[in-house]
């Protein structure tokens, strides 16, 4: 009961290889145009890749590599697709929408209707059975759409940002519903919301420029991001470079000292609402002086640290195990009860009072300073 998928679409620079285990829910995240929709469309059979092969539960979905190419049309794939918009057939009532899948599978009208009512009850929408899609709110329509997708008895459920079009009142309800129906069900969910990935998925796959940038258990990816996108999801500063002892050397020649220890300290600091322009030094790894070097000097690595660990100074303040970045402020924005200062691709969270004291404005040259103990360094 697994999906194995490998496909390339030259025109879109798409080349992805992915497996989904039995009962596993995988969240696919990435910037716009990264190939998330291409991935779902290729699996569903709505888009034909240039090359590759895919198998679902031992049955070939497509094989475009070998001599005898096979292409299974969408209606034989059992991969129901649920999009951002419910796309309920406007001329059919809710119950007829839900029974569409069973009817298409050749189940007699009466029985298909019974099953549809069962699925509607399952999504707590049985009261809507007789309504036309035009008479449903966004959240109600999406619930009916979930019932319709499940009623088709799919081997793999494809969800394309199913919560994105909902208002803030219906999204939590739907998220709970998904949590319930996705349990033990094989599914791929494309989402922009890190909350969806955390709550709904066992694993997260980060797509960037048509390729998989990261793939791992959701928690792990968010705690030790290896791609700029995952770091931005986790709300962490991310500086790529090459490993140099317990530090990362950037392309510009800057050396960022850190530690290769467990990211626990960072994990705590990444938690929102940690106040203080001058965070307390997490006295974790730096016993006295040199922290443990990270293996693999010279290979690519990243330095990752939370914005809450960054202090802002107007002048260069040298302290021994500290990293200082000379940057120009590009943006100031409210962030919880803090002010987020964006500069040179990095972010610092400081108190409004500190910001006012320093007289921070966009365009001002400042120094971002972060203690080595707050910087996680690891290979990518």
């Amino acid at each position: 009961m697994t999906l194995s998928f490998q496909a390339a679409v030259a025109g879109r620079g798409f080349d992805v290889s992915l497996t989904v285990g039995p009962g596993e829910t995988v969240a696919v995240m990435g910037p716009n145009g990264a190939g998330k929709s291409t991935l779902l469309s290729s699996i569903a059979g709505l888009l034909r890749p240039d090359s590759g092969r895919a198998e679902l539960n031992g049955k070939t979905l497509f094989d475009l590599d070998g001599g005898n190419r096979t292409w299974v049309p969408p209606h034989h794939r059992r991969t129901a697709l649920l999009a951002q918009e419910p796309l309920l057939f406007p001329h059919l009532s809710a119950v007829d929408n839900v029974s569409f899948g069973p009817r298409s599978a050749g189940i007699p009208k009466r029985e298909a209707r019974q099953r549809a009512l069962g699925w509607l009850a399952d999504v707590e929408a049985e009261a809507l059975a007789g309504r036309r899609p035009g008479e449903l709110s966004g959240g109600q329509a999406q619930r009916v759409a979930v019932a319709r997708a499940l009623a088709a008895d799919p081997s793999l459920l494809l969800l394309d940002e199913p919560l994105a079009a909902l208002d803030i009142h219906s999204a939590p309800l739907l998220r709970r519903l998904f949590k319930r129906v996705l349990a033990g069900r094989q599914a791929i969910i494309v989402t922009h919301d890190v909350l969806d990935a955390l709550i709904l998925a066992d694993r997260v796959v980060i797509l960037e420029d048509g390729r998989i940038a990261e793939d791992g258990p959701t928690r792990e990816v968010l705690e030790r991001p290896r791609s700029a996108f995952a770091a931005s999801l986790a709300g962490l500063n991310f500086v790529p470079g090459t490993l140099d002892g317990a530090a990362v050397r950037t392309e510009e020649g800057l050396r960022i000292a850190g530690h290769g220890g467990d990211p626990e300290a960072d994990g705590q600091q990444a938690a929102p609402g940690k106040p203080g322009a001058q965070p307390a030094a997490p006295g974790q790894p730096g016993r006295s002086g040199e922290p443990a070097p990270v293996a693999g000097s010279g290979s690519p690595g990243v330095a990752v640290f939370p914005p809450s660990a960054v202090s802002v100074f107007l002048t260069d303040a040298h302290g021994s195990p500290r990293n200082s970045f000379a940057v120009t402020i590009s943006d100031l924005e409210p962030h919880g009860d803090q002010i987020r200062v964006r500069a040179g691709g990095l972010a610092a969270d400081i108190t409004p009072a500190a910001s006012a004291d320093l007289g921070l404005v966009p365009g001002l040259a400042v120094h971002f300073v972060v203690k080595a103990a707050a910087v996680s360094v690891y290979g990518t």
Binding site: H75, R77, L81, L87, F89, A105, S137, G139, A152
Partner: protein, 280 residues
């Protein structure tokens, strides 16, 4: 003029708009004024008139049916598929819209006529198409098909193929998708296209006269009857013209009536009913 917004239409544009309306409506008015009401009923219920009207209605119904059977697939293929020379095919199919009907009649004659491209083959099978009621239906289909294709292709394009994609992932084979999703979704476009085709068929004159001739009861449709009567009895021609105008008005009213509050019969909902928060 309370509560009217700024329209931005200059005065001279309004004046020209009035002239345009007069150009269309004045001739109709002139004709109505010319009707000899005392003889109206006997004129339109004369034997030849009723025969012509009956033939017109029958042939127009047949050609509309033919337009639907052939036009729906053509519109779908033009709107959904992509193939080489698709753009060219789309333009060529619309040709009868701009072609003088008499040219269409000549083209049909050299296709189905006794000496025509296919006519010889039909002749050998003992089938004579030219100058028969079949020819009338063919001529009407030829000129009316583009109306159905254009209006349906537009409807198919606006409705997009996203519903069909969802239907396919739910396990519906293409035939089921066509029957249960595509057709109901484009039904309004199909209906107005069919009505327009029927109207065009009813008014068809040039191609019919050229390709089918004017045999009473066989190929002499109402427009042909009117043209013939005009020579001998102008009053009869006017009376019959009024009948066609009445039919045309009914057809236009049918095709362009405002979609009333039908509960989503084929029409896609633009916005869901905002019950406790809209979806955007």
């Amino acid at each position: 003029m309370v509560g009217q917004g700024y329209s931005g239409v200059p005065g001279w544009v309004r004046a020209l708009a009035v002239v345009a309306a007069v150009v269309v409506l004045l001739p109709l008015l002139a004709m109505v004024l010319r009707v000899d009401w005392t003889r109206f009923i006997p004129l339109v219920t004369s034997d030849s008139s009723l025969t012509a009207l009956g033939l017109s209605l029958r042939t127009s119904a047949a050609s509309t049916l033919l337009c639907i059977v052939l036009g729906v697939p053509l519109a779908l293929v033009l709107a959904r598929d992509s193939f080489r020379l698709q753009g060219l095919l789309r333009s060529l199919v619309l040709l009868p819209l701009v072609l003088p009907p008499v040219v269409g009649g000549i083209a049909l004659l050299y296709t189905f006529g006794r000496q025509g491209l296919l006519g010889r083959a039909f002749d050998m099978l003992g089938l004579q198409i030219a100058f028969s009621t079949t020819a009338v239906v063919l001529a009407q289909t030829f000129v009316a098909l583009p109306f159905l294709v254009v209006s349906l292709e537009g409807a198919v394009r606006t409705s997009g193929s996203r519903y069909e994609a969802v239907a396919a992932t739910l396990g519906a084979r293409p035939g089921t998708v066509f029957r249960r999703v595509t057709l109901p979704l484009v039904l309004p476009g199909l209906a107005s296209g069919a009505v327009l085709s029927f109207a065009r068929s009813l008014g068809e004159f040039g191609a019919t006269l050229t390709f089918a001739g004017s045999l009473q009861g066989v190929t002499r449709t109402l427009p042909l009857e009117i043209y013939l009567q005009r020579e001998t009895d102008p009053d009869a021609a006017v009376a019959l013209s009024l009948v066609l105008v009445a039919v045309a008005v009914a057809v236009v009213a049918l095709a362009y009536r405002r979609p009333a509050a039908r509960s989503g019969a084929g029409k896609r909902p633009t916005t869901p009913v905002p019950a406790g928060g809209n979806s955007k």
